[in-house]
Amino acid sequence: MEILFPQILFQIVNFGIIVAVLYKFLYKPILKILDQRSQKVSQGLQAAEANLKAQEELDDKVKSELKQAQSEASKVVKSAKTDAEKQAQEILAKAREEAGTIVAKERASMEASFAQEKKQMEADFAAMVTQTTKELLATYLTDSEQKKIIDHQIKDLKNYHFQA
């Protein structure tokens, strides 16, 4: 086999030219595209991290505000419950007082009514007994018995004195 140096040299030059052309028109644009791509990815990652951080901060803020709102709501509920209990107790106490007053008033009224009725019944009974006794005395008291009564009363008059 014969080695031809000029041909080898030619091949080397050709290869060099091809490498130069490829480097110039293919390798550099691809490298540039890859750099841009890498830069975009890097920017995207940074943006994603920033977004993630912002999201976390937002979440923390939301959680904090939610916690504060829950605390305030709890306070409001507790206060409202306390107020409601206090108001309920006041209403209950007032109702009891009014009920007591009404019961006392009704009891007093009933007692007064009962006493009045009792008094009236006693008066009616006394009137009935008196009237019956009067009628019996008027019917059955004879003149001699009347005379005896009067004689007895005349003797007892010494116990009485008119003012002169």
Binding site: V129, L137, D143, Q146, I149, I150, I154, L157, F162, Q163
Partner: protein
């Protein structure tokens, strides 16, 4: 009605009763009450509604000894 009149200026002692009373009884009534019958006008008045006893009036004062009065007082 009986009356013992010793002058119109004398005060009157009125005794009401169902049965009529004698002058002696009227005088005894005035004496027992500590009053002088000679200085009184004694009047006996029959009151049919007066049951059991007598009612004596003297110068606006009334002494009711009737059973009716006692019954009324019991009723009150």
């Amino acid at each position: 009605m009986k009356a013992n009149t010793f002058g119109s200026a004398n005060p009157t002692l009125v005794v009401e009763s169902v049965i009529p009373l004698s002058d002696a009884e009227l005088r005894q009534i005035s004496l027992n009450l500590g009053l002088d019958p000679n200085q009184l006008t004694l009047v006996n008045q029959k009151t049919a509604s007066l049951i059991g006893g007598m009612r004596i009036s003297y110068q606006g004062q009334v002494l009711d000894l009737s059973l009716e009065n006692k019954l009324n007082r019991i009723r009150e």
